[in-house]
């Protein structure tokens, strides 16, 4: 039986609690992720995908439920403490890197994600060489721009480096939040390739949010479809094998019909009784 890396128990979060616009971003989500699995989360806007990721990362506090990382209860841990075990790539390519620091400085910081930062020289020769070697392996020619301020690089280059930074110290769990959505098709493809390489090399456990059905069927071992803060469908390995983009679209249609049915039922009840 493979090891469970992440476990969510009845995770709930409510935006605008107690106000008329109260929304259940997460509504009692139970989830287990196994070591080495690649899980993709799909869902419409506002379905709770990003909330799920943020709740795991610790940037969104739960109103109810618990989060376990490798068996440890991390529910009360702040984001920066969980980050020792979690690598993260954001949708906005500028969120994952610091513009005012050089490329090499950004990478060195990423390389000390799991250790205490004290007065060691950031760009000592051995560390710089290690960083240079990793950047060279990306194959984007960025090893010649190690001393350039990160702010001068393009979104695609920065996102490629963010992927490297998130996986530089192999994380227990890798969270990808629509991390290619803001890139042009070529950069997106490049970033996906680098992501896959890093995941295979580090045998990483990955949770990825995306809008792209194509990415989902291409990459995932397991597909989750979120709807109204719940996991509406959990398509794990056996079922996924023969899934196509059309199958996924059909599931989305079903959800939409169910919604309409709810609405018309509510309207009918209203007509009958009010």
């Amino acid at each position: 039986m493979p090891e469970v890396v992440l476990r969510l128990e009845a995770a709930s979060h409510v935006f605008h609690l107690g106000s008329p616009s109260e929304t259940r971003a997460l509504d009692g989500v139970d989830l287990e992720l196994e070591q080495g699995s690649f899980t993709v989360v799909l869902g419409t806007n506002g379905s709770g995908k990003s909330s799920l990721l943020n709740a795991i990362a610790g940037s969104l506090p739960l109103v109810q439920g618990r989060v376990y990382l490798e068996g440890r209860d991390v529910t009360g841990w702040p984001e920066q403490r969980r980050a020792r075990f979690i690598g993260r790539v954001f949708q906005n390519p500028f969120t994952g890197t610091a513009s005012d620091l050089s490329v090499a400085e950004n990478l060195v910081l990423a390389g000390s994600r799991d250790s205490r930062r004290w007065l060691r020289r950031g760009l000592a020769r051995d560390r710089r060489a290690a960083v240079e070697e990793r950047v060279t392996r990306l194959g984007l020619g960025l090893e010649r721009r190690l001393d350039t301020p990160m702010g001068q690089l393009s979104g695609g280059q920065r996102q490629a480096l963010t992927v490297l930074m998130a996986t530089m110290v192999p994380p227990t769990l890798l969270l990808l939040d629509e991390h290619t959505a803001a890139l042009d098709p070529r950069s997106a493809e490049q970033v996906i390739r680098l992501t896959q390489e890093a995941i295979v090399e580090g045998r990483l456990t990955t949770l990825m949010v995306t809008h792209s059905m194509a990415q989902a069927v291409q990459l995932a071992d397991r597909i989750l479809i979120m709807h109204r803060g719940r996991l509406a469908y959990d398509l794990s390995d056996a079922r996924r094998r023969r899934l196509t983009e059309d199958d996924l679209l059909q599931l989305f249609d079903q959800l939409r019909w169910a919604d309409r049915l709810d609405e018309s039922a509510a309207a009918m009840l209203q007509r009958a009784y009010v």
Binding site: E79, Q80, G96, L101, L109, R117
Partner: protein, 303 residues
Amino acid sequence: MTLLIGAATVGLILALLGLGVFLSYRVYVTLDLTADGSFLVGAAVVAALLVRGVPPLIATILAAIAGAIAGCITGLLHTRFLISTLLAGVLTSTALYSVGLFAMGSGNLSLASATSLVTQVEDVGQRLLGLEPSMSLLVTAALLVAALVLGLTRFMQTDLGLAMRAAGSNPPMAKALAIDVDGMIVFGLALSNGLIGLSGALYAQYQGFADIQMGIAALVTGLANLMVGEALVGRRSIGRWIVGAVVGAVVFRLLVALAIRAGLNPNALKLVTAALVLGVLVLPQLIARAGRVPSSGKAPSHA
């Protein structure tokens, strides 16, 4: 010549103020008004201790620590209670005004009869090297500032310094890399105000008294130093930036001394300082506006 030596010495002492403001304004992109209070408190603490016969070196270090504590308080108000840095700084420096009065016992405290770092340096310079008092002060101030610049530049390139800069540059990224952003803000403001407190302590000893008015416009003076420095030295690397803060302070003081010599009313000094900072902030916008082609209803595209 004496005038210039004096002005350069004051410039070097105020360069520490510039370095402190650099840390809050450029690393954390925040206007930390604690500066006004911590400059005063540094001066007040050192004066109060010196007249009680505390060894000058210890008194000066304690004054710097007092400034650092002030920075900690502002940092904690901001990070723990989510008060804006601007308000937190104003609150702290307002409170420090009273602290300054308590420490000094009155609005003004003379160090004429006390042994201070300044009298010690003058003595040693004269006895060992036969230097003019003003010259020994200038040399000592230059050595101290050089050491601090070197130390600070080095520090900014250590793991801790990088974490601090990342926390200022991009907080979400810093958190995702397991950096305690709140802790870094408190630490950074403590370091910044420690330097400013040290600057106040040295300034009081140089002029031979501490005065309750001393902290007024410390932040703006520090900003003026930074901007002159950035204009002269540039901001291409962290080392340049730090050196710029020092060069800016010295050049600014020299200009002030010359202007006063040429007949500028010293009362106008703060007005000129504020105008300088305003000018540096506004000029680029004016230039950009003047250079823009009158648009025919079409917005410029930002690709």
